[in-house]
Symmetry: D4
Subunit: 215 residues, 8 copies
Amino acid sequence: MRQGAGEVIYGEGKTAEQIAAIASSLMGAGQPRVLATRVDAKKADAVAALWGDDGGIAPCAYYETARLVVFGGMPAPDGDGVVAIACAGTSDLPVAEEAALTAEFLGNEVRRFYDVGVAGIHRLLDVADELRAARVVVAVAGMEGALASVVGGLVAAPVIAVPTSVGYGASFGGVTALLAMLNSCASGVSVVNIDNGFGAAFQASAINHLNSRQG
Amino acid sequence: MRQGAGEVIYGEGKTAEQIAAIASSLMGAGQPRVLATRVDAKKADAVAALWGDDGGIAPCAYYETARLVVFGGMPAPDGDGVVAIACAGTSDLPVAEEAALTAEFLGNEVRRFYDVGVAGIHRLLDVADELRAARVVVAVAGMEGALASVVGGLVAAPVIAVPTSVGYGASFGGVTALLAMLNSCASGVSVVNIDNGFGAAFQASAINHLNSRQG
Amino acid sequence: MRQGAGEVIYGEGKTAEQIAAIASSLMGAGQPRVLATRVDAKKADAVAALWGDDGGIAPCAYYETARLVVFGGMPAPDGDGVVAIACAGTSDLPVAEEAALTAEFLGNEVRRFYDVGVAGIHRLLDVADELRAARVVVAVAGMEGALASVVGGLVAAPVIAVPTSVGYGASFGGVTALLAMLNSCASGVSVVNIDNGFGAAFQASAINHLNSRQG
Amino acid sequence: MRQGAGEVIYGEGKTAEQIAAIASSLMGAGQPRVLATRVDAKKADAVAALWGDDGGIAPCAYYETARLVVFGGMPAPDGDGVVAIACAGTSDLPVAEEAALTAEFLGNEVRRFYDVGVAGIHRLLDVADELRAARVVVAVAGMEGALASVVGGLVAAPVIAVPTSVGYGASFGGVTALLAMLNSCASGVSVVNIDNGFGAAFQASAINHLNSRQG
Amino acid sequence: MRQGAGEVIYGEGKTAEQIAAIASSLMGAGQPRVLATRVDAKKADAVAALWGDDGGIAPCAYYETARLVVFGGMPAPDGDGVVAIACAGTSDLPVAEEAALTAEFLGNEVRRFYDVGVAGIHRLLDVADELRAARVVVAVAGMEGALASVVGGLVAAPVIAVPTSVGYGASFGGVTALLAMLNSCASGVSVVNIDNGFGAAFQASAINHLNSRQG
Amino acid sequence: MRQGAGEVIYGEGKTAEQIAAIASSLMGAGQPRVLATRVDAKKADAVAALWGDDGGIAPCAYYETARLVVFGGMPAPDGDGVVAIACAGTSDLPVAEEAALTAEFLGNEVRRFYDVGVAGIHRLLDVADELRAARVVVAVAGMEGALASVVGGLVAAPVIAVPTSVGYGASFGGVTALLAMLNSCASGVSVVNIDNGFGAAFQASAINHLNSRQG
Amino acid sequence: MRQGAGEVIYGEGKTAEQIAAIASSLMGAGQPRVLATRVDAKKADAVAALWGDDGGIAPCAYYETARLVVFGGMPAPDGDGVVAIACAGTSDLPVAEEAALTAEFLGNEVRRFYDVGVAGIHRLLDVADELRAARVVVAVAGMEGALASVVGGLVAAPVIAVPTSVGYGASFGGVTALLAMLNSCASGVSVVNIDNGFGAAFQASAINHLNSRQG
Amino acid sequence: MRQGAGEVIYGEGKTAEQIAAIASSLMGAGQPRVLATRVDAKKADAVAALWGDDGGIAPCAYYETARLVVFGGMPAPDGDGVVAIACAGTSDLPVAEEAALTAEFLGNEVRRFYDVGVAGIHRLLDVADELRAARVVVAVAGMEGALASVVGGLVAAPVIAVPTSVGYGASFGGVTALLAMLNSCASGVSVVNIDNGFGAAFQASAINHLNSRQG
């Protein structure tokens, strides 16, 4: 990772022992905090048990919905503005939370808008002003992925769209949402890989730190 | 065709001579009117030249945007209510007009809403009450096809979605819009083939004639 | 949901506790009945155990084949006519029953035609008159999905086709049936997502309540 | 080619000169007749002009719909029974005729059933007895390809299905028909490549000559 | 099934109780034998246990590799000639044996050629004369499916190709073999669905009984 | 468009007359400048001829490589920093220039890096410091699209990747580059549709105007 | 290019003027010879006309089948052994010749085996010893691409497979051959992009120059 | 296998008993060593237990990461030079090690470069000279597969690319890496099937033994 404000471990396919060891090593080398992604609850328990000896100096917190482990606690926000995360509802929460917590880990103030699906368009319109106030918007959606287009039409800020694998049949594990987002009729929308809440937050954070990083 | 209120010729791959001959034969057998679909302007000219001898008894009209020829004139509407046709703008017009004129040919009163793309959501909301007053709504959209989902969330009437081949790159000639519509987060939306404005209108007309046909 | 005649919970990915709580909350707010879809037998048992305290006022029934839980009982039909559900046989039953019971939950009289595959065309022809008497037909089929085309050629009513994931190899989990239905040579056929018996019934109900809702 | 009863030239990508030269060479080497496939009308004219010098000994006939050139005339049928070719209508004719004429070139008696689409199921049922009398049936269909399944349910003879590229949108140039035919719910159906009327006829002829060839 | 010489139960998705009951009912109605396909070993044990009461009058045999249960024993062959089944080796055996045993169940003499992959072309050439002596050849292959093309070039009899789901990565569960077989450079090859040994044998049997059935 | 700093016309499928009329109307309504995209050279000539009457007040310039027409001239840059555009070479130039000129039209200072393909990695490394100095980087690449990953690893700024349709065979018109970019091993990369240089520039401009727009 | 023994211009999308200018510039800088690929006959004529002034010092030759222009003549072979190029017949010749001539341009002795399709396996076996004598074999095939597997089983040398876009329907422009070659049951086969005869020859030449380059 | 220097058993789908029996039989017939691929840890334990009786004469070693069992020990390298194996990191190790150990089994000296992903381009450049010293390079990569292109640009030796199934979402189980590698902008790269480390090593070994085998 490029920021220096924290390091990230991709947890998929790593054991609890490996995750704890890498985190320990990174923090021993001076990192103030470490994030491990894609860690399920059982593995997180094992990580916490291994980590316990650290004694409070660097706590280890697990966020189950987002499947994230944060070592060393969340930083105070130091970005240029607010990162907004929008999604339609329950099924997209794991990806939306992965994005939201990653953004917080990277030093961003985050605002969540989690019940704004396009089939109930008025709930989305009710928060339009708040979305417009954000520095960057992450739009998370599965199925037909229409949220990205409607949000893209409402705000002038850059919109990063995250397709999710929510759906069945012809949703093809998120491919339909991915394609729809790539074809958004609203300009100013770019897209990351299916379920890649982390990647969207990473780029959102880069956008939201352009001043602080370069000034 | 099942209705008896008119016959339809699929014009693709047929010569002007064949179209004129079939239309003449059908009307000679008692059909009050005949519709020919997918006829380009040049072929339509040839059809009109051939048909000219008919002398005003059964006029032949060409609708260029929709690529339709109507022999015998449009009927008076005799359906149960209004068929609404919604689309986003210029590029989808050929398919939307194919749907609108086919519905008129089949005896429906049609209302057109042609500038209601989701990237400018307020234009769509401005006509929401009019859409709700329709007996059935046909939603025509290319690119990411989000219109069907937003319309499906606004109205209680059945919505028939028509993906169009408008777009480029990862729109894959309408496949993205098709998949998005099949995955609509709004219930009550069904889908027809890419660019199949005719088929959507045909089913819309069947829905809009349930009382008159069965009462 | 738009009808007001009942609410629907998408059960996939929700716990028994969540389903029971939402159902309880909805009925406490005045809903006469609630439908939960995609609930497997084990989860349904847990829901029933949790619900038991309700004491007969609002019974909770499980339909295993369709994987549906209905709270509050089925309503009397109040639609304009009959909804017909046709399918080929054993393998398609879960989707056909999801459609049939959803339609009943939404206040429709349903007739089932469950042994009418096109490889034995005479069984289908034997019920053609009964299909023609329906206000709307839902055609459920896996494999090559030919049922929708043949039914579409037999009836004048709108036909909603539901591809199922039944098959193997080049059926691609229902994609072949989906594509075939979208290309039906019979006009008047529209299509919903693979295995989406609920969505087909929802739209069929909307069609079958056009008079009662608007009159 | 394996039969010895005639040779075949795949005309696609060959010039008129090449086709005429190969045909001449084969017949000079003793072949009684030669078939050239996939020859368009313009190229066929050029072939005929080149061939003219042959003087009636070995005539050269062009079949425009099927895009076939036959040198040396058609043979008398010498197969075990009848090869039936079924298709739905106008659009599939080029492929159906490629199959029919190829079968005749290979020494088969052919019966054509060219207006038997499944959307008008009774026309197909009207010829069911005639189809059952055939030794082998070739079923040609585009769009959803349902004809193969219905025919497969009607006859005991082997059925060879030929998907055609007829259709638009989600027909994907014949892929939908191909997939549908591979998933036929009727046993006893096998499939050849899209638009491969020649290949279907070739195998049908092999089946129809099993006795004569081996006895 | 059309033959009357035996009935077939598609075992996938049916319980042991259902299979035994259907078989019992069919044989009670006069069927001399019944075949159940796609039955795994555990389910077959349960079927056998249930069937045990039948007392030897109609034995029940399980073929584990082919996952077939045969009730009532195999018949004596009564076809016109030999059905040859060719495949490359171990991995394709389940599909090849499903084809071979189905063909035997349907009254065919079967010859197996099970070690003739194209990477060791000489083993295939060693049996070329035996393959040429067959009335019909079933070629079973996974991976790149080249066996069908080479066999198709060696024999004049009809070749039915069965792609198998053997392979990994870009074999896509048999799709690569399926596509390769559809594009065979040898004429006279037709194709059935992936892993559909039953369907290939069914058609092979139809071809091999053309004389006996029609004479 | 949301900025107010200029309007954009999507030129594809519009006539020269339509483009000139819309541009004239927009500028008459107070727009200082208008951009028309996807205009080929012939159509641009016609637009210029029609526009000629405007007399120097609002010049009309055509950029052939990028297929863009700019009415009213380019503005002075008013963004927060530099937008870098990187691509590999000749074939990707049309898309890269569409991005570069669009960014200039939207008020950005642009730096072009047009000979930095990954097969010659040192040319890319030679400009790494300049890329790092940019506020946002647009990486344009066809074929395997690897440029986005390598650039993403070199810079901390947000990277917007544009796949191009450059390539043949298994490049599938840009799909391979699109997929590769979505799977970039470098975090901080988001992606737009194939050949969508305009969309990438639009988002890059939004990022590069966050301060000026909100301060 | 890495060799220094000649440079290559990818001619697709370049004008005759550009090709001639680049070639002239390269040879002026000391390159003994230059190859331009994917040049059609008309463009080649224009290149030759432009080049004529060069006066015999560096001739310019066009190879029409392969669509190659060679400036400066072919070198004497200086590789470690022979590069064999195998293909099935007429349709694959353009790709096979692109491979053969590119290999010659790069300093390899080439042997061509151009009538060895697997449907006539004996012609291939007749040249097996000659193939085995080659240092590396390039196998060029369209349709089902089986040639690579059979050749891979016959020789111990590395085999580079080139799928061609020859075929129709489910050949999908070479995708079927590509997939088949990737799934070859013979070890020791690797694959390049569809129609990429140049790339195969380039790698074959690298293999055939391992000694001379490193010794 | 063609080499005679050892035999290979494809372990997938074979039982421990079968693997041990085949290995024993091959070594009894004179093979000095045998390799079994795709053997998981549990099966390998069972193989080792069965093999134990062999008593040290022919040891049996299990390589867990690569899922390989080697009977009879590794040979001394006897190739022409070094085979280099490059990959990006942890996730690709199983495939990289399958390639590396297979190459060693086949008599090659192997050098491993396992932390050279393109997102950290300098680590790759640091080993460029060592890669250039290799006789052949195997580049193993998942996700976007860009490693093959960058390596291909750095070395003159033949590069064999192995896509891995590492990734999620739009990596499609390795398809994206496969397509990217086939479209490499660097010449001299060929590709094997997804996760086929064995096949790449097999061909690399063939290239690395050209002198020893033919001299």
